[in-house]
Symmetry: C2
Subunit: 243 residues, 2 copies
């Protein structure tokens, strides 16, 4: 069996990488990934072979990984954050059906929800829902249904891909839906460039969030009924104090 690793390198490929991830990358011959992620790790692993494909060539990228492994190389496909949250682990299993002699191992990483929460304080202490606002691969009606359901049941909500050039008003639309169920002063937080140079964050209300422009490098958090701002941090209590 040729083993192929799918590795989450954490939000910035820096110290938030797990020890297991670094160990696997150190042991590999070839590291494959989206151009931007490969650039993040290249300097840290100078002796490796690197292969990339641009965005929208994900299937090709996966095939490349299996084909290199079939040549006898030890291969790792890397993803920013975690490989299993909107990452390549799923597609690797799908494409892997054509390569029955290869076996996948998924190495988990810190996804933006977890890394961004740590920057803001402790927003995800209680039940939460993670939703991508990108309708590139999902019908908007489904996204809408999920945003409404999560807001209605008072989940803390973490939004991935809140914006892009073509979808500049999606976050505003999502906020308007959440405002049907959540109060205007619900505490929210945004984090940009998590774990990378230029990381920045801000706490604001849901009403303010609605009129805030964010870019595709931003992760957005919307609190539940209990979420508070504490000394500049976004904190969702779990209730230990009442026990």
């Amino acid at each position: 069996m040729n083993r192929v690793y799918v590795v989450g390198i954490g939000p910035g490929a820096g110290k938030q990488m797990t020890e297991e991830a670094r160990e696997v990358l150190n042991a590999c011959d070839t590291i494959i990934g989206y151009t931007v992620y490969v650039d993040l790790v290249k300097e840290q692993f100078p002796e490796k072979e690197f292969l990339t494909t641009p965005m929208k060539q994900e299937v090709k990228r996966c095939k490349m990984a299996f084909e290199e492994a079939m040549k006898g190389k030890k291969v790792a496909m890397i993803c920013s954050g975690d490989a299993g949250v909107y990452g390549m682990a799923g597609l690797m299993y799908e494409v892997g059906v054509e390569f029955p002699k290869a076996e996948l191992e998924i190495v988990p990483g810190i996804t933006a929800a977890i890394g961004g929460a740590a920057v803001l304080g402790a927003p995800l202490i209680h039940d939460f829902a993670v939703i991508s606002l990108s309708d590139l691969l999902t019908p908007w009606e489904k996204i809408e249904k999920r945003v409404r359901a999560a807001a209605m049941a008072d989940f803390v909500i973490c939004l991935y891909n809140p914006s892009s050039r073509k979808r500049h008003d999606y976050l505003e639309k999502a906020c308007n839906m959440m405002l049907e169920y959540k109060a205007e002063d619900t505490i929210c937080g945004i984090v940009r460039q998590i774990g990378r140079d230029g990381q920045e964050s801000r706490i604001l209300t849901l009403k303010e969030l609605k009129d805030t422009e964010v870019d595709m490098f931003t992760t957005v958090f919307i609190g539940n009924e209990q979420t508070q701002e504490m000394d500049g941090h976004m904190v969702t209590p779990r209730g230990y104090r009442d026990v």
Copy 2:
């Protein structure tokens, strides 16, 4: 300012710990945590001072951390998995209000949803909801509302604390609610002792899950409409193949 670290040590305190977490623990004088978690790291940091409190003494444990920091020690409060997902980061902010000279820094870790997903395959590739079935700190009605909302909107669902001695039928109850919206053959997965000795996992249908006994060391995953079993793994496609 005395800085206090709240550190997620990952599922098993082994190689899934981030480099940042190990760096912080190495630099600390005192490591504080729930007895079971302290036992997980003790051997790896032989020269540290360790302080513990048992379960249900969370507030005391937090105060202890701040009090030790006020003595001038460099202190880390550790949590299994991530400190921000059902972890101590929130309570540390709450208790921290009484210690205005202390500043918190949260160091993220691999939570059971992320670590367990990597064991099963790729169940969380698309929008997902994380729900704890423990009604120790949350009214059961709220849990019920969230389970129904998440099932209704076809989220992949990850359940923490699916069972305990007093709550042996909670998973069955949750499955019955989900079966109102999700098909009986929905692909599910369970992982026990993630990242620890004796780790085990199983893929099964929602109908089978309903009649399965799990313990408190188990994390449960319920797929969405697209989730499939592929070669013994639980995989939720994201849709790249249709682009």
